[in-house]
Symmetry: C2
């Protein structure tokens, strides 16, 4: 049954807005993608966005969640490969959304919503690799090793390392974890 003026489910309209927001956030960044532009791309006036999302950061987090879900799903396909290859896969997966990554870090301070998402994101990433690390890395330094890997991968993404440099960096990270 039609739920709004365009004979769409509320969820369908929400998804349309998310799609518009997603491509605009990617193309123009958080600041460049104004609520006005996003609304226009979704065929709405800016204020209507607030019927679907509390504020711009909630919309941003919803877009970030979209990519996070996709990432977690896709990990299954590489979960059995060597760590170095998984790291390269992760960098390559995040590379297209590197503007979003930078935005998350910039807005963590200003938006509790983004801060919460950022904290969850890191937990999920750690969960993704924790099992693979425990057997090899001694307990005392384990958290430090995980942090090094996490930050190095984030850095590779935000600094847009080329394929060779990425490959070397991921090898270096994996090699470190293999040595006891």
């Amino acid at each position: 049954m039609p739920r709004n003026r365009q004979d769409q489910t509320k969820q369908a309209k929400r998804d349309e807005i998310l799609a518009a927001a997603s491509s605009l956030f990617l193309a123009e960044g958080y600041d460049g993608a104004s609520m006005g532009k996003i609304a226009a791309a979704a065929g709405l006036t800016p204020n209507t966005l607030y019927w679907y999302f509390g504020d711009k950061d909630e919309l941003f987090v919803a877009v970030a969640d979209l990519y996070l879900d996709r990432l977690l799903q896709n990990h299954g396909a590489v979960a059995e490969k060597p760590l170095a290859q998984q790291f390269v896969w992760l960098v390559d997966s995040l590379r297209p959304v590197r503007h979003l990554v930078a935005t998350v870090h910039a807005r963590v301070t200003r938006s509790p919503r983004v801060e919460q998402w950022h904290s969850d994101f890191h937990k999920q990433m750690e969960a993704l690799f924790e099992d693979q690390l425990t057997t090899k890395v001694p307990g005392a330094q384990r958290a430090a090793e995980v942090a090094v890997v996490t930050f190095a991968i984030e850095g590779a993404v935000t600094h847009d390392l080329d394929a060779d440099a990425t490959s070397n960096l991921c090898d270096s990270l994996a090699q470190r974890l293999a040595a006891e």
Copy 2:
């Protein structure tokens, strides 16, 4: 001789603006520190800032340069210490300006000025440690090791790691470079 209405050198007035901008950028971040607030803190109207600085990013970069210069000067005092201690020193030095670090990464895409500064910053940081690394790390993987160290330190800063975690992370980084 007096050069403006307040009987100050242009440089002195510029420094006043920089001081105001610096503390506001630190306290409220790039977005929170509006040109209006900065101007008010310096006893001026917003538009007058454009007499001294081309735009907000030029002012921001000038503030960032202030801290970079201080950082490079202070490094002399720890240059002879073990690498792990130098890394801890670097994290501790950057910790107070972690909002600026996040802002740099967020604005690299939008401002050529910030992009240039960011590129220079990394060159300076690499120069600071390059000599200490060359003897220990083999040539092929050297760039990757430097990248890991750089990104891990940046991550420790932006994610505000506590003292213990920072210490462990820096030990881990230094230990890696010591092993051949």
